[in-house]
């Protein structure tokens, strides 16, 4: 139990949130990628957060346990001239929901800012603690 644990807690949360932001960026960038290295359309990805004990256990940081792919069906777009079109003229486009991703992005960015604030406050407190007796 020490104020130094706060840095680990806020730091782990910042790492997790930035990873989430990375995944959002990847989803938004590939919102129209009809094909990928395995020949399939791009699938939206999501991070899975889990609480993980830091230090002696009363503090809980955040850990990204997995990056999972969204298994919802692909968006079928009618475009017979597209080289990836099937016999009916439909192209399978990525199942990225741009609105969801934008919401995710703002949520991740706000959570990141909150943790930066926590870290700044902890730093102030530790510096104040060092002035005891001066």
């Amino acid at each position: 139990m020490s104020l130094f644990n706060l840095f680990n807690v806020a730091g782990s949360a910042m790492t997790a949130q930035s990873q989430r932001l990375n995944v959002v960026a990847s989803n938004l960038a590939n919102a129209d990628s009809a094909t990928s290295v395995d020949g399939q359309p791009y699938r939206a990805k999501q991070v899975v957060f889990s609480a993980t004990p830091v230090g002696d256990g009363s503090a809980q940081g955040v850990n990204v346990t997995a990056v999972v792919e969204d298994n919802s069906p692909m968006k079928m777009v009618y475009d017979p001239t597209h080289p990836m079109a099937n016999a009916q003229g439909y192209v399978a486009m990525p199942n990225v929901n741009v609105v969801d991703e934008m919401v995710n992005m703002i949520s991740a960015s706000r959570a990141y800012q909150n943790n930066v604030e926590v870290m700044n406050t902890s730093k102030t407190l530790l510096l104040k603690t060092l002035t005891i007796g001066q």
Binding site: N5, L6, V9, S58, G61, T121, K128, I132
Partner: protein
């Protein structure tokens, strides 16, 4: 004499330790604002301080003779004060009970009170020094 000095500083020292522990819990809550099924935690500061000053410790764990037995201890604690779950006001669909407004407010409040305790300790030390040096 050393005993008296120790006694004079004991209250603020205990308060500071508790504040630091609580700050850790609140930072964990902020860090895990997006973790599914995470439950926000806090301690009752007033009773925790009373217990810590009175020397009351957390219940000892019950002896287990079978792995099926319940653990029987009070769970996590800070200086003997049990860590409790916050009563959710607006729990989210993923089972998370962190209310960012409450946590941020408590975090700022706790940080300010920590700084106040630091100031009190410093002032007490100054008083002692004045008494010694005249």
């Amino acid at each position: 004499m050393i005993n008296r000095l120790d006694e004079a500083l004991r209250f603020q020292q205990t308060a500071l330790s508790l504040r630091a522990g609580r700050q850790e819990l609140l930072a964990s809550n902020i860090a895990n604002a997006d973790t599914p099924n995470y439950k926000a935690r806090d301690v009752n500061f007033a009773s925790a301080l009373q217990n810590a000053l009175g020397g009351t410790v957390a219940a000892l764990p019950v002896a287990q003779t079978s792995p099926l037995h319940l653990q029987g201890n009070a769970g996590q604690n800070i200086l003997g004060a049990p860590v409790m779950y916050r009563k959710p006001v607006q729990p989210s669909a993923d089972g998370n009970t962190v209310d960012m407004d409450v946590e941020r407010a408590q975090f700022a409040d706790n940080a300010l009170r920590y700084e106040a305790s630091v100031k009190f300790v410093s002032d007490e030390l100054k008083e002692i020094q004045t008494a010694i040096q005249g």
